[in-house]
């Protein structure tokens, strides 16, 4: 069995599972946020009206809650939702509720690794499509709708069809100035936004071994944009070290068997990779940066679960050090812990000296919610994950998706720029 099959076999108490088997798995962790949470509360209200008991959750210690999409509260309705969410967690005794303005909080997928909320081998579900991110820790991580999350909250189980697995073998370390974001965009460009539908995308090979945990998180994060059920990397010592430094103990490192089967193998040579961007209006619309259209950018946005982890900010700082931005540039660290490290290590000073506005952790303009959304005809380069029409604001705005380094280099020149070409 491969890693996904082994995790699902463990989760469902079976000795073996195969692709297309429908299994009922015990869930180890479940997450909801300020958009899916109120949706789940609504489902609970409906169940109550039908006379179904929602008096207690299956296990409040396995539930955690993030505030990220419309926080700090964008306006009255989102403020109401935050109040509703707080009442819910208090009522059901959920202690792991990361509230803005009260220490650590941030984008749910970032909290999942920053706070070691999810462990290798876990079956982890969240009320958000980028739950896939956390597969980089060696967990089976996938997004669900509100009704499914409500079900998991009550019963601690959910059914899955065991996915087929595509194996992406990456040979060799990524060259300088080429980031994990470039690689995953390249892969999406090759297989298309539905190329991974219903599949697990597993990443391995020496290129992944060499990668930091945070780069692997970027890879798994955007498997969502390929339509995949999830993404996964087999856990190694780097994952153990990463989670240990965040207080985790007791690891159960599940890895695939030597004779594991995969539906398809894809191979990439790292040395052939270059910085790329996804042009509007699809993440599969890939071109290498040096061949990108010469458009006048209005904005550079460095944020989100995809592109505002600590490592991403370090890469941005390398580019911005001693330079000034030419267009509006925003940096929103994805969690308070990242913000704090950025402050302690002098990154914030580099950003502010360059003329950047540094904002609080939030999904913000990534999903067009608030904190810098785009006007009609505005063109943005962004470290986020989607560039569908209107994703970051006006339906006639445009977003180019890029790595943090490309977004920073482009902020300096005002045009889409390969960081290797900066003067």
């Amino acid at each position: 069995m491969n890693i996904v099959e082994k995790i699902l076999a463990r989760g469902s108490g079976k000795s073996k599972v195969s692709p297309d088997d429908v299994i009922f798995a015990n869930v180890d962790k479940v997450m909801m946020h300020d958009v899916s949470g109120p949706g789940v509360i609504k489902v609970f209200d409906k169940l109550k009206k039908q006379g179904i008991s929602v008096d207690k959750l299956w296990d409040p210690t396995k539930v955690w809650v993030a505030e990220d999409h419309f926080v700090p509260s964008a306006e009255k309705v989102s403020a109401e939702n935050i109040v509703k969410l707080s009442k819910f967690t208090k009522h059901y005794g959920i202690e792991k509720h990361f509230k803005y303005g009260m220490g650590q909080y941030g984008i749910c997928h970032t909290i999942s690794h920053e706070e070691a909320m999810v462990m290798p081998g876990d079956v982890y579900v969240g009320g958000d499509s980028h739950t896939n991110t956390t597969g980089a820790l060696g967990a089976f991580a996938c997004g669900l709708g509100h009704t499914d999350i409500a079900y998991v909250l009550l019963h601690g189980k959910i059914w899955f069809k065991v996915p087929e697995t595509y194996y992406f073998k990456i040979n060799g370390k990524l060259p300088d100035h080429v980031m994990a974001k470039d690689l995953i965009l390249k892969i999406i460009g090759d297989i298309g936004t539905d190329g991974g539908n219903y599949r697990t995308m597993q990443f391995g090979g020496t290129g992944i071994d060499e990668m930091s945990v945070e780069s692997r998180l970027t890879m798994c994060n955007m498997t969502t944009e390929a339509g995949a059920k999830n993404g996964i990397v087999e856990p190694d010592q780097k994952v153990v070290d990463y989670l240990s430094s965040r207080g985790a103990t007791n690891f159960n490192l599940i890895k695939g068997d030597d004779d594991a089967e995969y539906e398809k193998l894809f191979e990439y040579e790292s040395s052939e990779l270059e910085p790329v961007v996804a042009k509007p209006f699809s993440p599969e619309n890939i071109t290498i940066v040096r061949e990108a259209p010469s458009v006048e950018l209005d904005k550079s946005y460095i944020g989100s679960c995809t592109g505002a982890k600590y490592e991403d900010l370090v890469a941005v700082a390398k580019i911005l050090k001693g330079r000034k931005v030419k267009i509006r540039t925003e940096i929103l660290p994805a969690a308070i812990s990242i913000y704090q490290r950025a402050m302690e290590n002098g990154l914030l000073k580099i950003f502010l000296d360059a003329g950047v506005t540094v904002g609080p952790p939030t999904c913000g303009a990534c999903c067009g919610a608030h904190m810098g959304v785009l006007a009609k005809d505005e063109i943005c380069i962004s470290t986020t994950n989607r560039n569908f029409p209107g994703r970051m604001g006006h339906i006639e705005s445009q977003t180019y998706l890029s790595s943090p380094m490309v977004a920073a280099a482009s902020a300096v020149t005002g045009k889409i720029t390969d960081p290797r070409d900066l003067q």
């Binding site: 015990n26 949706g39 309705v77 509100h146």
Partner: protein, 194 residues
Amino acid sequence: MESFKTVKSIITPLDEVNIDTDQIVPKQFLKLVQKSGFGKFLFYNWRFDEKENPKPDFVLNNSKYVGSHILVAGDNFGCGSSREHAVWALQDYGFTVIIAPSFADIFFSNCFKNGILPISLDQKIVENLQQTTDPIEVNLETQTIKTSSDEIFFKIDSHMKKILLDGLDDISQTLQFEDKITDFEKRSKIPSVL
């Protein structure tokens, strides 16, 4: 959830691929959580201009399609954000069947929780259906679509079929066995997570 019955109606053709959930319900409406009433936000940015006037060239604003319960769209329908609001909006607007060559995973699953039947068919068949102007009949029991000239068989997972036919979402379905579950939990010493 109401049980799914046979649906007979004309189809609404939406010949676009990769329709993502933000096109189905734009993010500005996500803060609202009443499950009903989302129909008015369905395809909002495609349906209405800046001044909230209907755009005449968008298919839902064509009076010909008023009362249609069957949406026929392109590949990878429902990709993007996992927002269940997208399904709520389609259902509230009146669509009970969505036909496309393929669906995004979470969207597909959300449909069954809300009484919508997603049907995946070959590209060629979907293209033909998009041209159909006569009413078609979708029968879940027999897994067939009857057009004026043809009868098309579609596949559906037997469990999902039962969910829709019985009008039970997963929760109500499990809770039919609540007594047995409680009884088992009282007797069982097995930890809830193995």
